[in-house]
Symmetry: C2
Subunit: 215 residues, 2 copies
DNA sequence: TTATTCTTAACCAATTCGGTCTAACACTCT
DNA sequence: AGAGTGTTAGACCGAATTGGTTAAGAATAA
């Protein structure tokens, strides 16, 4: 079967998993996201995940069958979550640089309120090379190429910046700030959406004030 | 013994380790730094470290006695390295904001050229809670309080910034940029000191141009 | 009550863990 | 050449942990 395609999110067992009370479900998802993101596929253990989620290890195997399946399921699930949020909130027409970056951060914070480690997991998954998952994972990555958060960073409008300014550098600076502020929020446990985005707006306001051309 | 104090850097076995050809020595140090930083004390394994360093596991135990000793030795060694570089290059009088941040980044890059994961290791060590090392580690951390890179960030001179600007925000932005640029260098494998610091200077130049008061 | 579904503790073989031991190596000094 | 000395690796140890199974207990619905 050259083009066998498995959808882990809508498998049989998965429906039962999705039918769990959302508290327990998210506890399991978050535990798995944390351990896979922090330790990578190989060193993350099912026992540890079960322990963090406060369920028995057997329950994980009941719902996911194997460690590999859990991992791949997580990857698909995360992409689904991100893409749905983007579809719901990303206004296609909006091209203003700071408005788009604000939206970028808004989406990240709002998702992280529920799944703190989702983005850490997704970026670590892109470098996962463990032999047990690498093949299936690579095709999932390929499927999701060009989707996801990165779509928010294309076709940005730099027209309002001062003429002599290097746009790539401004983009880097802004994204580094977004990353830094998000890490700060995460570390402090403060992922309240409004407060977090309000703080970020202060930084965007400052950058806009000095980088946009004065006229 | 309430106040027993062990200096892991100058122990007996350590002298022999320090007498190794520097290539082999650094290979061992870098492998250990990488694995402890990436996986934490518990999940980092001596076999993996030995494998990465391309020496046998027994050699590690020959020089360090135990995993715990290797970890604590590393922590002391890293602090020693950082403090020596700071002592050599940090000019006490210099207080200009951007000059100090430049120095901060310069020192980081120059150390990371030799020990890529040194700072990742040091910051991960500050959160290490594994029961086997936490007690000894905490007293080592206490010993090094107020030393290290953080000393470069005190008494900064914000006088030249525009009056209405929030200095804490400017500091955050600048440090986030430093962090981001360093991560970029690391990811690309480009840790050439001059090129790296030159790129960073571009960012500092841009920030200075727009944030320093125009007069 | 019974039937069904959810959940877990106990268990499995296999691997990996930190650590040891022994012997092969390379070296200088005689 | 041979004796001695320090350096290194491979085979090995018991103990712990791994991914995964099983069978039986708790909960729920009929």
């Amino acid at each position: 079967m050259l083009t066998e395609k498995v959808n882990y999110v809508t498998g049989e067992k998965m429906e039962k998993f999705l039918a769990l009370p959302s508290g327990k479900r998210d506890a399991i998802l978050n535990a798995a996201l944390y351990h896979f993101a922090r330790y990578g596929y190989h060193k993350a253990s099912m026992s540890d995940i079960a322990g963090s989620a406060k369920v028995s290890k057997s329950l994980l195997f009941h719902y996911f069958g194997s460690k590999k399946m859990l991992y791949l399921y997580l990857y698909e699930y995360c992409n689904k979550v991100v893409n749905e949020v983007i579809a719901a909130y990303a206004v296609a027409g909006e091209r203003d640089f700071f408005a788009r970056i604000r939206l970028y951060q808004w989406i990240k914070i709002s998702i992280m309120r529920r799944y703190v480690d989702l983005f850490d997991f997704l970026s670590s998954a892109n470098f996962e090379r463990d032999g047990e998952v690498v093949d299936a994972l690579d095709s999932l990555i390929e499927e999701n190429r060009g989707k996801g958060l990165s779509t928010l960073l294309i076709d940005l409008d730099y027209a309002q910046f001062a003429e002599d300014i290097d746009c790539q550098m401004v983009l880097n600076i802004t994204l580094w700030c977004a990353e830094g502020q998000l890490a700060k929020l995460k570390k402090s446990g403060q992922l309240h959406l409004e407060a977090g985005i309000e703080e970020f707006e202060c930084y965007l306001h400052l950058l806009r004030k000095y980088f946009y051309q004065k006229s």
